[in-house]
């Protein structure tokens, strides 16, 4: 089942990536080649196997709802690509 250019365009949209025509062609070929190699997984019988999401046993860590971090707003804003005082400037969201 070969990967099509339409599918690649759809995935690129999901991934919020703009690909050039050349990139689209290259990625379609490369991903198709890689996915074909990965077809070996299909041969394994995993019907009775549980998936592993995380290798450690973790339980949700709770703590009291009190502020523990000192204010660091300025440090967090200093990397803003566009800024207006305390605000991050962004492109218009609602047309």
């Amino acid at each position: 089942m070969a990967l099509t250019r339409e599918e690649v365009r759809h995935i690129a949209l999901l991934a919020r990536l703009q690909l050039s025509d050349a990139e689209e062609v290259a990625i379609t070929e490369q991903l198709d080649h890689i996915l074909q190699h990965f077809e070996t997984l299909a041969a394994l019988d995993t019907s009775a196997v549980e998936p592993t999401a995380l290798v450690v046993d973790v339980t949700t860590a709770y703590r009291d709802d009190v502020v523990v971090n000192p204010p660091a707003a300025e440090a967090l804003r200093q990397n803003a690509p566009a800024r207006d005082g305390d605000f991050f400037k962004v492109p218009k969201i609602i047309e």
Partner: protein, 485 residues
């Protein structure tokens, strides 16, 4: 005395005796960096002023009676780990102007122990790669042969040790990215058990696989750094709530009776003969030291690469969604609304390999494919983990080659991404199973390139892995060799 040539522990001893100062040591290391960087290119950012300030502070602390193995030692940190006030790029243009607003926990622990940060080390972009050729900034060259790669993704962390540009470094390892460059550059590197070291402040690639670990010229150096960075962190809920042993104190000891498993699936066609020879010789050496060697099997080894590249890329596609040009990092020029800005920012900021992995991961998670790819890979992960659990019922450690070949030439594997992925074959299962894994030098091939031996342990048995490594190291002389100047 060429201070930059000192091992971590030798320097720590001389500092403790006050035979040398941290300022002297740091100056020597910075001078060495200046002399070698034009050729090697380990560093994205060298932090001379910060380092000297920290060195002075370390000497002042020592004068007040303070001590500790890290106090005053020059270290380098992979540029995927946040260092407050210092540019942190993760090897990507999308973070080219990013100044870290806080320290990663591992950074904080090193600095609190008095370490001196000499700079941020080059890596494959977002830790995606096995050669450091995917860095958006520069190609790092292997100090043993400058036409060859240092390995990746923590290539700069490994080359800096081999080129005597730092006495200890931090790297990260998601599919082999500490161990494989350690092997390529003839140094020691350890990926701890998943959860042994906090990931807070480490730019995330694959959250169920990433781990931070040390690299150094010797096992002792790694043991000291690991002991400093390891331990529970309230900021990282995947970090284990377990005490940290004194790894360096536990090194000396006999490995008589240590049960060592050699998995047959790790000696494959396509493996360089020199590599196989050196590893088998190392195994015989372990046997002479009293270890009991057995042939074992990890039957699902061949499925590790597909499973890894589906899980890791799926997690990466989610983790890298945050690079949207809004609050930090690169933002493409305005025009065509919000969606267009996202698309063009990410197109401009990410390199080809990163785009490829985001695409692969997004596909694996997308409707209609999730079950066949991502879920399937997670089930295979269970099978791989079970293989190890089974072997560890009768073996204490597993020993393998770290990589099928020694360091390849720059440009040799860049045309076929799959070829590059296959070079991770011996390291990748260890990340999937969350086990501790170490690489150390065990010889050189006919071209004089280092060969790596991998030692793998049960979860949280870093002590045993380090002991086995130390025993082999003391019985061999590979660590005494440096690249010719």
């Amino acid at each position: 005395m060429d201070l930059h040539r000192l091992t971590f522990e030798r320097a720590a001893a001389l500092l403790a005796q006050k035979a040398i100062s941290s300022v002297e040591l740091t100056r020597a290391v910075l001078e060495r960096i200046r002399a070698t960087e034009p050729e090697i290119q380990s560093f994205i950012t060298v932090t001379e002023e910060v380092a000297l300030t920290q060195a002075h502070a370390a000497d002042a602390r020592r004068a007040r009676g303070d001590s500790g193995p890290l106090l005053g030692i020059p270290v380098g940190i992979k540029d995927i780990i946040l260092t407050k006030g210092i540019r942190t790029t993760a090897g990507s243009k999308i973070l080219g102007n990013f100044i870290a607003p806080y320290d990663a926990t591992v950074t904080r622990r090193l600095l609190d122990a008095g370490a001196v940060c000499v700079g941020k080390l080059n890596c494959d972009e977002f830790a995606m790669g096995s050669s450091t050729e995917n860095s958006a900034y520069q190609v790092t060259r292997n100090p043993w042969d400058r036409t060859r790669v240092p390995g990746g993704s923590s290539g700069g962390s490994a080359s800096a040790i081999a080129a005597q540009q730092a006495l200890g470094t931090l790297g990260t390892d998601t599919g082999g990215s500490i161990r494989q460059p350690a092997a390529c550059c003839g140094v020691v590197g350890i990926k701890p058990t998943y959860g042994r070291v906090s990931r807070y402040g480490v730019v995330a690639y694959a959250s169920s696989l990433d781990q931070v670990g040390p690299m150094a010229k010797t096992v002792t150096g790694c043991a000291h750094v690991l002991g400093t960075i390891a331990g529970h962190d309230a900021h990282d809920s995947t970090s284990a709530n377990r005490p940290v042993p004194d790894y360096a104190a536990g090194l000396n000891g006999s490995i008589k009776g240590l049960r060592v498993g050699i998995p047959r699936e790790y000696f494959v066609e396509g493996m360089a003969p020199d590599v196989e020879q050196a590893v088998r010789a190392a195994v015989r050496q372990l046997q002479q030291l009293g270890a009991v060697i057995s042939d074992v099997s990890l039957p699902h080894t061949q499925y590790a690469i597909p499973a890894y590249y589906l899980i890791a890329t799926a997690e990466a596609s989610s983790n890298l969604a945050r690079y949207d040009g809004i609050k930090y990092g690169l933002r493409a020029a305005e025009g065509e609304g919000l969606l267009g800005m996202y698309q063009r920012t990410r197109a401009a900021g990410f390199g080809a390999e990163v785009k490829r992995r985001i695409m692969l991961g997004t596909y694996a998670l997308s409707a209609g494919y999730y079950d066949a790819y991502y879920l399937k890979a997670q089930k295979v992960r269970t099978l791989i983990r079970r293989d190890f659990e089974q072997v560890f019922q009768s073996q204490d450690v597993i020993v393998t080659p770290t990589a099928p070949t020694t360091a390849f030439r720059i440009g040799e594997k860049t045309s076929d991404p799959l070829q590059m992925y296959l070079s991770d074959i011996f390291t990748i299962s260890i990340n999937l199973a969350g086990l501790p894994g170490l690489s150390m030098p065990c010889g050189f091939d006919a071209q004089g390139m280092p060969i790596g031996l991998q030692i793998v342990g049960r979860p949280f048995e870093e002590e045993r892995v380090l002991q086995a490594a130390y025993a082999y190291e003391q019985a061999s002389a590979w660590h005494d060799r440096w690249p010719t100047e």
